[in-house]
């Protein structure tokens, strides 16, 4: 499979501090790739670097085009949707507005309407809450809303930062089932960052393990999952 996103020698900085040293990886078109690693390994920073939310050096190619240094909003408009860590919603806006904002440049009202309906087939719960303020939703619903909003961007690649964070196991399972459907039915490639390695390895087909700002290993997800050595030394379970 061709690579949708190629990252080579990626470095990222917070002020004077270098958070990523030399990260290289690829995401296959149509696949689910996961980035694993302990706290502070640089998983979130890698996602932020792809979207140019931190100072970045190196090479990031999306669909063959170098995107390093482009403004975040322009990268998003190339159809890379980033679901940030924590409840990534506009809390004072309604569910409806949260979803529509992702389509605000589009002029075809009917198209946006159809898009909304399609998104609701994945998240029927959000449809029930359509006029509610996002801040009043439960944690799981807010996470769903953030993913639904990303879907409204019609993404080719979805970057997900810890979608399981702070949620009850049942909700997490539901969200991961939906992610698999989105991947299969919409053909959206996914880059998933997770603390919960077991969960992520079940969903993903390829895994990279990060440690202190660099990639220390890469393999197919089931290989990583079944390798006790890797699990014990890097993933802690």
């Amino acid at each position: 499979m061709a690579a949708l996103l190629e990252v080579k020698g990626l470095k990222a900085f917070y002020g004077q501090t270098q958070a990523l040293h030399d990260v290289s990886f690829e995401i296959s078109d149509g696949g689910i790739t996961t980035l694993l690693g302990a706290n502070g390994a640089g998983k979130t920073t890698t996602l932020r670097a792809i979207c140019n939310m931190v100072r970045t050096e190196g090479e990031v190619r999306f669909d063959g085009k170098d995107i390093v240094g482009r403004a975040t909003e322009e990268i998003v408009r190339l159809r890379i949707a980033h679901v940030p860590e924590g409840r990534g919603t506009f809390t004072t806006l309604t569910v409806d507005e949260n979803l529509r904002i992702a389509a605000y440049t589009r002029r075809d009202k009917q198209g946006v309407k159809d898009e909304l309906e399609r998104v609701f087939t994945y998240f029927p719960r959000l449809k029930e809450r359509i006029q509610q303020q996002a801040g009043t939703l439960s944690g799981g619903e807010q996470q769903m809303l953030a993913i639904a909003r990303a879907l409204m961007l019609k993404p080719r690649l979805m970057l997900l930062d810890e979608p399981s964070f702070g949620l009850a196991p049942l909700i997490v399972q539901e969200i991961f089932r939906i992610l698999r459907r989105i991947n299969q039915e919409e053909g959206v490639s996914i880059l998933l960052v997770e603390q919960n390695a077991a969960l992520a390895l079940d969903l993903a087909d390829y895994a990279y393990v990060l440690e202190t700002g660099g990639v220390v290993m890469a393999d197919r997800a089931e290989v990583v999952k079944n390798d006790e050595g890797i699990r014990k030394s890097y993933l802690g379970y």
Binding site: M53, E73, V76, R77, P84, T89, R100, A103, T105
Partner: protein
């Protein structure tokens, strides 16, 4: 009784002006956390622009519309050229820039059009407008025009995709970028709209306070009081706050006059109206800093 109604009516007319300027202040505050001290002087400059157009022969409403559009463009330019380079600067630097902007607008208006006080016409016909003995034609017109402008703005923010994008950019800029909103342009647009609303207020009030480079000084203070009363982060509250302050200052002066008339003791009158605004500012800040309709924002550290 008639006097009382008159005072309420003129309070509402003044309040409409304060509401516009208060809204302009709040629009910039919610997206940048800064109070634009130059808002009043920018509005004054806009008013001179419309006056200039009128002396060149434009009709009142043409000059009004042109001044609003020009102010919008100037607001956008000011944000892009002056504020943009400062977007990571500390608060005090920005405050200094605002005060500089205030001084520049003021002395530029003085240099171009002189400091002599000028009369400013009213577009509202004396014969068919207003209710005799209660509200004058210009006052009624001011209230109507500002209500229309505020209604349009509300509809824009509430029902258009661009308005939604601007609200999103104000609430959470980094998240807005992640859904493809060009946040920098939303800020510039916000400045443009604030300047345009200010222009409406300036042109409307000029007939009442006359045109001179210092005409907006007191009004900015009232508007700030109004914005505080309503809650500095709440556009709807600021508008209501503007009206409240407008009526309140008249009521206080009216009560003062009545007391003087009946007892002969002078406590407060028309001359001390501005004090009312200052008292409101201090009271709100000490008793209820979030204002009537504002929410207390708790910041995690």
């Amino acid at each position: 009784m008639e006097q009382f109604l008159q005072q309420i009516a003129s309070g509402l007319a003044n309040g409409a002006i304060y509401a516009c300027v208060a809204l302009a202040l709040v629009m910039i505050y919610v997206s940048t956390d800064h109070i634009n001290f130059a808002q009043g002087e920018m509005a004054m400059f806009s008013t001179y622009l419309s006056w200039q157009l009128m002396t060149w022969g434009a009709s009142y409403w043409v000059a009004f519309a042109a001044a609003v559009v020009l102010s919008f463009i100037l607001g956008v330019i000011i944000e892009r050229a002056i504020l943009r380079p400062l977007h990571n600067a500390p608060v005090l630097s920005v405050v200094v820039v605002f005060i500089g902007l205030l001084a520049i607008c003021n002395s530029m208006a003085g240099a171009i059009w002189s400091y002599l006080i000028k009369e400013f016409p009213s577009p509202f016909p004396k014969s068919s407008f207003g209710i005799a003995g209660v509200i004058g034609p210009h006052q009624l017109g001011v209230v109507l025009v500002t209500l229309i402008v505020l209604g349009l703005l509300f509809a824009f923010f509430r029902y258009t995709p661009l308005g939604l994008a601007m609200r999103a950019a104000a609430q959470n800029p980094s998240m807005a970028r992640l859904v493809g909103v060009r946040v920098d342009w939303m800020l510039a647009l916000g400045w443009g709209l604030a300047a345009a609303v200010g222009a409406v207020a300036g042109v409307m009030v000029a007939h009442i306070v006359y045109l001179d480079p210092n005409m907006m000084g007191g009004i900015l203070l009232y508007a700030f009081a109004g914005a505080l009363v309503g809650g500095i982060g709440n556009p709807g509250g600021a508008v209501l706050g503007g009206f409240i302050v407008g009526v309140l200052e008249n009521m206080v002066a009216f009560a003062g006059n009545q007391i003087e008339k009946t007892t002969g003791i002078y406590i407060i009158g028309n001359g001390e109206k501005l004090t009312v605004a200052l008292i409101i500012v201090i009271t709100v800040l000490t008793v209820r800093p979030a204002g009537l309709f504002g929410r207390v924002v708790v910041k995690r550290v």
